[in-house]
Symmetry: C2
Subunit: 232 residues, 2 copies
């Protein structure tokens, strides 16, 4: 006797295996939570918890009254953690270095205005800086900061502290947006990253807002060989 209680992970596993085994094919409707609960001899809340997890993973879709069904178009849903660059470098056991390349105040180009979803062009702070690992260039960032949202940053000495670190600690964002693509190193990037002209570089673009107010948008050009990974 004394078989342990059915946990929501047990339920999730059971349903997942049934989906993997083809008991329920993509698009198929699953039984109601209540029926599954009765079947597995547990509470509906337990099934609900399991189902929510499967839904969050993109394995099933749930709709009120409509019931639960296996996603017709299975997606690979991955969680990606992009750490602070300093932390990332230090986690590799390297020494982190930071260098301000340029700082200017100018009318933001249309691409920046578009990334923020603004309609009117406006003056913003542009910060170009280099992150280094063991004195070798690691990531070059070209950043635009909304001076309307973050006027204080104008008074910060960005030669000492990276704009990113200041922002993280003083103006955390509530919403963001990410884009990844590959780009060829032009002459100036090759020089900055100490690499060869024409090298393929992974670029990470990130835009952040606090509420609806734009904070910053940045284009991080990584050094050759840089890889982005996801566990799980």
């Amino acid at each position: 006797m004394a078989s342990r209680q059915v946990t929501w992970k047990d339920v999730r596993e059971k349903i997942h295996v049934e989906i993997l085994d083809g008991v329920y094919a993509p698009g198929d409707k699953l039984p109601r939570d209540m029926d599954i609960a009765a079947n597995l001899n547990c509470a509906r809340t337990t099934v609900q918890r399991a189902m929510r997890d499967l839904a969050e993973r993109g394995i099933v879709e749930r709709r009120r009254k409509g019931g639960t069904r296996v996603r017709a178009d299975p997606v690979t849903r991955a969680t990606l953690d992009i750490p602070d660059t300093r932390k990332e470098v230090e986690a590799k056991g390297a020494t982190y270095g930071y260098q301000l390349v340029r700082k200017s105040l100018a009318l933001a180009p249309r691409s920046v205005i578009a990334a923020f979803g603004l309609s009117e062009p406006e003056k913003m702070l542009r910060v170009e800086a280099l992150h280094m690992a063991d004195n070798r260039p690691y990531i070059f960032e070209d950043r635009w900061v909304s001076t309307n949202t973050v006027p204080e940053l104008l008074d910060i000495d960005l030669a000492t502290q990276s704009a990113n670190e200041w922002l993280i600690h003083n103006r955390p964002y509530s919403r963001f947006d990410l884009r990844f693509y590959a780009e060829t190193a032009d002459a100036s990037m090759a020089e900055l990253l100490d690499t060869r002209l024409g090298d393929a570089l992974l670029v990470i673009e990130r835009t952040t807002w606090i509420g609806n107010a734009p904070i910053t948008t940045l284009k991080a050009t990584t050094c050759p060989g840089y890889q982005l990974r996801t566990g799980v």
Copy 2:
């Protein structure tokens, strides 16, 4: 009167704002769920739900008995959906095309064995294929499939159906692993993707398992200009 009940999203929002406002700084300990619940006049389960969400987003960390604290090293945690290539192309309003380039049976190279975490080299099925959008090359995939785990694939006509689609419908995976990086187009890739030698291309590598059994590992080289995006 009749102020609606406090929902877990209300609680999450409130705590999140307090963190954003610096009421709780990175590393700081938050009150116990029970105290927050008493404070906001709701049940502990409601606070628990809110806290779990914040923890899943990488904003706070929770430990039994240790309590809840704001993550010391804030990360940008993003969810990335990588759709089936056919679906992706069709979602753009283009016509999907598929073309088998080569199929062979060979001893998998060390990189593949390593990706799977295997110790012994083994013979696997290699499938090279091209995905097209409106008759233009879109993604080239170089795939290795474990014939131990998926012997049936040997009998499938891969000129008609892509290995990916067959696998998705017949051998769903339970675990996977993703890597992104940039690569320069060499002569053969330039020809396959109908682009120029030296172009920077975004590469997506994916390895999948069912339980601990390796299914497939693939290197998807995307056409120039390809972008990977995440909402929220």
